[in-house]
């Protein structure tokens, strides 16, 4: 029996109105099981980031036949409940602009714990050390490389153990070596923290690191490549 964590049916997202209206998602269906590491792939403008933002409760779909997170219907939840779910159940890693620039690495991670209402104790330093950026705890983002910032962002995203880790082009600003390291790290924390991880990428190599690849074209799921579902 499958354990579906995220489910969407007939998901639509429209930007603009009138003649300028544009459907970023067009009746998309999706189901993600608990513990999966899924890559959402597709070309620029295909709607993959929009989908990620809807799954991360930062955007509301224009309409949907079904949209659930761990069984909770997300279509009509209040803004406050959305914020609460983002706080407790979801961790984000973005391509850039990941960290609060005025705070140190440690405070960025501490902020996540604080928002989730948890006392981090020594977990902040432990997390940073586990992601090999412990020595940067007191550094601000401007004093770190992009790769180091991504590591801190991952630490912050998994602080407090969310159910879902959403990563939007997490290697988009990195060279190939750093990309490999960040991907390895994402896979590692995915396993260690029992996360359900959704990666958005237009890079086939990055997508290949996932258990399953969902290919999006023009706002719909084009197909799931044969053999893409691992495990």
């Amino acid at each position: 029996m499958t354990d579906i964590l995220i489910e969407a049916r007939d998901l639509w997202l429209r930007y603009g109105a009138g003649e300028a209206a544009y459907d970023a998602l067009r009746g998309l269906d999706l189901a993600i099981e608990r513990g999966e590491l899924v890559a959402i792939a597709g070309p620029s403008g295909s709607g993959k980031s929009s989908l990620l933002h809807i799954l991360g409760l930062m955007l509301r779909p224009t309409r949907a036949a079904e949209l659930t997170l761990d069984g909770e219907d997300l279509r009509a939840v209040s803004d406050a409940r959305q914020a609460q779910l983002r706080k407790t159940d979801i961790g984000f890693v973005f391509q850039r602009l990941n960290l609060v620039p005025v705070l140190s690495a440690a405070d960025n991670v501490r902020l996540a714990f604080w928002l989730r209402g948890q006392d981090p104790g020594k977990q902040v330093i432990e997390l940073l050390e586990r992601l090999e950026v412990g020595r940067l705890a007191d550094k601000r983002p401007t004093q770190m490389s992009v790769g180091q910032q991504q590591r801190v962002a991952i630490a912050r995203a998994i602080a407090g153990r969310p159910k879902v880790l959403l990563a939007d082009e997490p290697t988009g600003s990195l060279d190939s070596r750093s990309s490999g390291l960040v991907l390895d790290l994402l896979r590692e924390v995915h396993g260690q923290y029992d996360l359900t991880t959704i990666l958005v990428t237009h890079n086939e190599q990055v997508a290949a690191a996932a258990d399953r690849i969902i290919d999006i074209q023009d706002g719909r799921i084009a197909h799931e490549p044969i053999g893409a579902r691992h495990g």
Binding site: H53, M58, Q84, R86, F92, L97, V100, P101, D107, L111
Partner: protein
Amino acid sequence: MLLRLAWANVWHRKARAFLSILAVAIGIAMMVTMLALAHGTLGEVADRMSSVDADLIVLPSQSTLITGGADFKDKHGQIIEQVEYQDRPVVERVVPVLWQQVRMGGREQRMFGIDRADMASFLGPRKLLAGRLPGDEFAHRIDELRRPDGLYNPEAVSEQDLAAGCELLIDQRLAVAGGYNVGDKVMILGRDWRIVGIVEPGVAARVFCPIETLRHIRYAGDRRVTAFYVQLRPEVGSDPILRDRIATTVGDSIKALAEPLGSVQGILEETFATMYAYIWAASGVAMTVCFLLICVAMYTMVVERIGQIAILKAMGAGRAMLMAQSVLEAAILSVAGTAGGLVLAVVAKWVIERVLPLLTVEVRAKWFVLAIVVGIVGGTVSALYPGWRAGRVEPATALQNT
């Protein structure tokens, strides 16, 4: 954590934070200083006016405490002395004073012409710091010249006699303001007057002279009086209700205006109500401009930090938290600005009292409390709109556009 984030954001933009703090500080200092200056100066005048050892001040009905106006004749003093209340004499002593506006120490001053014998009523416990009191030789000379009808021939007064009568007693603050010392000469009413003494501040006038000298120069010896200070008998003077009733009786006796000296402060404040309204309005405008500046600074911060706000929202920060962060940042600026403003107000008091020693800056605790309340409430209110805007940021759109 919220405070740490707010502090980090403020500290990140030091120049803007400093300018915002400075704006609030100037506004607060301006408000406190204006209030302290107005109330202090008026209070000091009222204190001086009521420092005379008397219970009532009697002015011609067309006169005011501020401007003076008409004059009495000396005989009115005799009528007041005879006033009775419920068939009992109630007046102990009547002291005539002739006011004259003079320019000393760079400002207009009200010179009191009084009899040497009445000097003690005006000086009270205040000490003579230098020199002596103005002499009464000129008054004696005039008495010698008076005819039975009380008048005298002004032509009979020699320049030498008059020169001996042109003596001034000034208070210490005027001496400091004008750089005057005992022995200095001052031109008043076209004549040289000699400063013969300096008294501690707090006396009714900053300048005193012999009343007969002033009468001779201004009115050719006509015994005019601008105001009478009336001392009541102890048994009635100590009862405020009785004193008010007797004041009415005294006023009616010569169809004049008689006010208890204790009510001078209230009369002055009433007279200057428009000035207070202006000060409050000016303070309000100044503070509004300051807090609009904070509002603009906070709003600019929101616009600049749209990416950071989006990240915070993605992490689950709700509108209340973003509002709280905005309010906290504004509060940091306002509290720092208010503290700076209070320090500036104290510095302004110090500077004003040294540069302009005739002004009194009375910084009362209640102005400080008012400034703190205005600073905190104003800072909080000015952060509401930027905080509301921060809460309305759409994180997905913001992340795509930044």
